[in-house]
Symmetry: C2
Subunit: 384 residues, 2 copies
């Protein structure tokens, strides 16, 4: 096992009715920026519940944060926040809104061009504190310090990470997910699944507990994910998906083990260029990447097949191929298509993605740093 | 799944050499009470490493905290801490030392008789901050707020719990466990195993991820525990046992599910009366308790057998009996005896334990509250 330092500071408020807990966790004389997305929270009652919990608190609203939140929109939110001198951000939404809140929090007191936080790793101080009310289980953003922001002007999707912008609390009420469109449910399950894979499917370092935890999340997503589509108002199913998505990327399972993240890095460019849903890009890239890296990942792919998919082939090559197929089949069962051509993309997309990877310095991806531009092109070729 | 609120504030510093990180985490102008046990840390080099890391820091030593730390000794530590006006406690040892540190921290500013914290749930304020350097993986005390203290004068073993006394950081260096006596290794593995069981082996509430995590810890302890005895200087084995013991009782796996803890409550009285090791009492009580409660726990016992011990019997009764036997065999394989008579205790012990349970108000134990004094006597009878 590798050395690690781990702490997760987010207080999880899990279950029906937990919104009522948020007010006691705001600062004295709170002036809250309520950040949200396209307005679905106004239709499904979450907005009303939040405003009811915040009765008597000074609230400034900023709606319209997009999926794959843009720098351009978030900078408007920074302006609004400054105009009203807020001292807290309550992000109500999915990963995009929470990621956006982290960027707004970091940019609030930043001197200079906040885009530098994303592209130059510029340091920032005194970020606004954040709370999250999660409506879409997927990214784990509610209890980590990660944020991904896209600059529309240049089609650049970039990330930053800091424990100082991690939410202080996160309300996880499974009922808030009942009204999600099926496509978002599918995307969320696939996203969480791939988060686990990025921290698990590398090479063995004798860390059996981390493996068991990762496999446990995968198993839960495989049994509960399809039920979330077929039984949208099954509370326990929604709760299990929600808790799995949070645990998939709250830092725990990745401690002391190598990590990959190449599927995400390649996928980000597909989103930046063609506006594919984040999860769609992961579903395209991962099976092809597993195939291209099947030698480096042989041991863990076999273990994944055996423990998670109950595949027990004596022949190693068959075991590996069947496991890759099982992952792909799971994405398809979640109604997320797994080939570039399913999204009307062809070979032209490959060169465009590779050019973007080069521009963004993503030339040595994966746990061994051996996914160079040629390998990335090969992976995308396998995904046609 | 049940509602829950969860946060774990302890920063885990895991791996070789992490002791060097502690100084940066002390308060300004730290005056540290270094709390430790019987002196093994002076023989195995941990004391020297701690003092070297603390070079230049004002340190007051208090050694001699016993296994099952006593109120009497800890009150002496409180006196020492007050005399020297310390502002931080560094607990270097196993669960007993860390539990003791929590009590000293709580008692430090307490007005009145600090025993009331344990027997009356008296509230306390402004506890001293604590850091932990773990030398014995077992109790999980390094990243939870629980403390168990025994009053020698009255043979009372009592607990209190508060997030305010949870360690701010915990150094988990697997090398510090190389020199542990085999009996302490055995006890630690059994203790951690039973911590998981207390949070897992109740009744299903459709919380599959919690189940998978619990099963993952049990599986890891079963494969790594015996190796910790046979290969005492195998770093990865020690690391895996250490991380498993921490995860077993840092609050995570018990969120949203019913919990039992009756094995611990009955076991505590055996320790208080006969000075048995904590883990010995658990190894005695658990198999008998599983047998006595096999109807209430039927579903989870079968699942435990299937998923953790690979027992797959068509007949439910056989499945259950074989699973209980497998748990008992695991304890015996860890060289911890499982019968009262193995410790020269007979029926007289049963009535004494039951009398103590009654005195301490432990008359409705277990996840259903159905373990009354009669049932407790029956369980202990099965363990003769």
């Amino acid at each position: 096992m590798l050395n690690f330092v781990f702490k997760n500071q987010t207080e999880i408020l899990f279950g029906k009715g937990q919104m009522s807990e948020i007010t006691s966790r705001l600062p004295e004389q709170a002036k809250v920026l309520l950040l949200f997305g396209g307005g679905s929270i106004k239709k499904n009652g979450v907005y009303d519940q939040a405003m009811s919990a915040l009765a008597g608190v000074d609230v400034i609203e900023f709606g319209g944060v997009e999926p794959n939140p843009t720098y351009e929109t978030l900078m408007q939110a920074v302006t609004t926040a400054k105009e009203h001198d807020v001292n807290f951000i309550l992000a109500v939404g999915g990963g995009s809104v929470i990621d956006g809140a982290k960027f707004v929090a970091a940019a609030y007191h930043f001197d200079g061009e906040p885009w530098d936080i994303l592209v130059k790793g510029a340091s920032f101080s005194d970020p606004l504190p954040i709370g999250a009310v999660l409506t879409l289980p997927a990214t784990g953003s509610e209890s980590n310090g990660n944020s991904v922001v896209t600059k529309k002007a240049t089609s650049q999707k970039r990330a930053f990470s800091s424990p100082t912008v991690q939410p202080q609390f996160a309300v996880l009420d499974p009922e808030y997910t009942y009204s999600l469109p099926p496509r978002q449910v599918s995307n969320g399950v696939v996203d969480a699944f791939v988060h686990v894979i990025e921290q698990y499917l590398t090479y063995p370092v004798n860390a059996p507990l981390q493996d068991r935890f990762a496999e446990g999340i995968l198993q839960t997503l495989i049994t509960e994910g399809p039920k979330a589509l077929s039984e949208p108002e099954n509370y326990d199913v929604r709760a299990n998906v929600m808790w799995s998505a949070t645990m998939a990327l709250n830092g725990l399972i990745g401690q002391g083990v190598p990590q990959d993240w190449s599927t995400h890095m390649i996928g980000h460019e597909l989103t930046a260029l063609y506006n594919l849903d984040h999860a769609q890009t992961l579903a395209i890239v991962l099976p092809a990447l597993m195939y291209a890296q099947k030698e480096q990942k042989a041991e863990k792919i076999q273990q994944l097949g055996k423990r998670v998919f109950d595949i027990n082939e004596a022949d190693t090559a068959v075991q590996i191929d069947k496991t890759i197929k099982a992952v792909q089949d799971f994405f398809e069962a979640m109604l997320v298509k797994t080939r570039l051509t399913d999204y009307d993309l062809d070979e032209k997309a490959i060169s465009a993605v590779v050019a973007n990877l080069e521009k963004n310095g993503m030339t040595a991806l994966g746990e061994h740093g051996d996914i160079d531009l040629e390998k990335a092109a090969q992976i995308l070729g396998l995904a046609l």
